[in-house]
Symmetry: C3
Subunit: 297 residues, 3 copies
């Protein structure tokens, strides 16, 4: 009975790893990513005043991880733009998110139960991307541990790592914060995931890749769906990170949601209204979001 159970899980994990991402899961990824773009201050106005800049931002949100990983590995950053199906799908989602009559599309996908399904689908894509990134880097650098971890991390974090430059495209500049300075839960999870996949790839972690992918994706789906549903801000890593950091680096890391402004060592007279940093948006209160979006319309 126990044997059967373990067989079932292995079969399930193997079947899961063979699921095609395009078009269904990619759709989920694009919908959630562009929803976050729309939550950004000024994004709706931008889509009206300069659709080209808005489209370029949307592409960074959808394909940022591919662009950055290709750049770091010496490939062509435009490589992902040669995939016409993905580009068309992402463009369609962008158009519907910003220009659908009566805002029907936006209202549908930001309806919580619908959104939770898309959030879960996004995590499936994230897990697969990290695994593919580590595999790709391993192919290029057989013993390049650091390269594998970095590429996996970049593939999982996506546009967050280039948020300063994505904002610059929209005419916004917030040099006092970036994703490495104030890591959000998805980025931290991508970093730890990339570490695990690298250990697996180099045979230090005695599990099969499909099992690891399955478990990691399940963990991310549960966490993100729970966090989105409850507007929770706690990081499940805080329990481990606290003691570990105080041993390794002599101090606990700041809790993910302390006011990040207390860490600034630069006076920022040019940002008088102390707004929360852009990158904590993934955990913004749902209500605030809706109010903001309504004002923007």
């Amino acid at each position: 009975m126990d044997l059967l159970g373990s067989l079932d899980v292995a079969d399930l994990a193997s079947a899961f790893s063979r699921l095609p991402l395009f078009p269904l899961f990619d759709l989920g990824y694009f919908v959630v990513s562009l929803l976050y773009l729309r939550y950004e201050k000024g994004a709706v106005e931008l889509s009206r005043s300069s659709p080209v800049a808005s489209w370029a931002c949307a592409m960074l949100y959808c394909f940022g991880s591919y662009i950055l990983a290709d750049l770091l590995l010496g490939g062509a950053p435009l490589d992902c733009f040669s995939n016409n199906g993905s580009i068309l799908l992402a463009t369609a989602v962008w158009y519907l998110t910003f220009f659908c009559p009566l805002n029907l599309f936006y209202k549908c996908v930001s309806f919580l139960p619908v959104k939770l399904v898309f959030v879960a689908m996004k995590e499936v894509v994230r897990g697969r991307k990290i695994a593919a990134g580590v595999h790709h880097a391993h192919h290029a650098y057989h013993h390049g541990w650091a390269v594998m971890v970095i590429i996996g991390f970049v593939k999982g974090s996506g546009v967050a790592l280039m948020s300063n430059f994505e904002q610059l495209l929209r005419g916004v500049w917030k040099p006092e914060t970036n994703e490495l300075l104030h890591m959000t839960f998805p980025s931290k999870a991508s970093l730890y995931g990339a570490l695990l996949f690298t250990l697996q790839q180099t045979h230090w972690l005695p599990v099969s890749k499909v099992t690891l992918l399955f478990s990691f994706t399940l963990f991310m789906m549960v966490c993100k769906v729970f966090m989105t549903a409850t507007h929770s801000h706690g990081s499940p890593f805080a329990l481990v990170e606290g003691p570990l950091c105080s041993v390794l680096f002599g101090s606990a890391p700041p809790a993910a949601h302390e006011d990040p402004h207390q860490h600034h060592y630069e006076p920022s007279h040019h940002h008088p209204q102390h707004e929360p940093p852009a990158k904590s948006r993934e955990e913004l209160n749902e209500g605030t979001r809706k109010r903001k979006a309504k004002k923007a319309e």
Copy 2:
């Protein structure tokens, strides 16, 4: 008679497409580009205080399109620097523009009739670059429509797309604007031209490449020479863009020369003197330019 006429145009277009760009037309491109660099606030002082930074900026103005296109296609951004003839010519034009005794060179090339000739020559190079960019991208990605359009656009727009970083090199930082947020006429024309050349390359536009190149170059030459000669600010695309944008994006695009500061969604306390954005310089009033340049001397 009609047949003869069409033959003549086809012959002319074909001969035109075989004209070598180096050194004559490249010279025109460099002269006009570096004239625009010199019009920039602080550019003359910069050439005195740090010639190395000034030279680096000049190279971005002359070769920005190649650098960006190579970067996006995974090539070596320094590739164009291996062409000693072009580099020497650009360096000579830079030196004459900024350091010629009595400002003789600058006075000659900014004399309107002379300048109009160079402006026309620059448009010949621009058309050829867009066509070459689309062709190159088509070679790398046979069905990569988006890649072809982007590379054509980048090759036509040149340094404008990296203006934020070019300004940073000169110690200037204007994050609230960039070329995608407020597209100038040359960039818009490059985008539409790249679209046309991509349609031609993929056989959706039933004209020969030489004819398209000839017509596009002619259109650009007429427009730019007319705009430079009359200090006109109207975009010939406004008539088409207005209705199209209001159908597609639910709003007309802002006229190219409304005060762009009204689109800012960020208070910019650190830019008290509301100056026009750097990228509208191509249409700056000729008189203002001369006065500015004189003050700078």
Copy 3:
């Protein structure tokens, strides 16, 4: 006797050029580079609040020249991260510099006599890097003079050329200055060194490469050790640069240590406390440094 002497020098130069850099000289390079990172305002606090960002900065300080050169030549910027030995060594030095109990490591390496040894070792690595950069560029572009000089310059200057982006990683943004605007002695020396190595590589300079490398390294070691030991700010190039610049560019370059704020053409209301630019840190007074570092603890 004279023959013997010249033989000895040639032998010495040849033996010197075959010295392995890893691990001893690389250690010196990493120690001095990370010492300069620690001198930066806010670097110690950053290492506590976000070790990931601090590690990323440290890697830029240690491998910035490789990353930039690979990027410019179309290679993979992560290439150097595949060298596990170097990465581990740099990470160890970073950890010891910032997190060693009682600051023992920092106190040891910033003790002047010890530091002078490391400074001398860093110059050995710099010389070797410039020579390797020019050689590499020559291999890729046989007649690309400009490419050889640029790559040599980039390999010698390292992180200084990307200081704006390195600062951005730490949440600091100082657009009004960069290495090209206010070149420090090491950057100028790298530029002139790259010129010499390029002339040697293309057989215009009739000396052997090992002799040139030996003389250049010796010159740099003497200069930097002297400047570090005496807190001297004078550039040995000033004597030649002054007349040359006034002939070529019609004005003497500003002395390296005039207040660079007088060159700003942008009002900088958001930087009220006029601090010296980050990049003059290599010549900061030793005493000031120690006081700052003590306050930071």
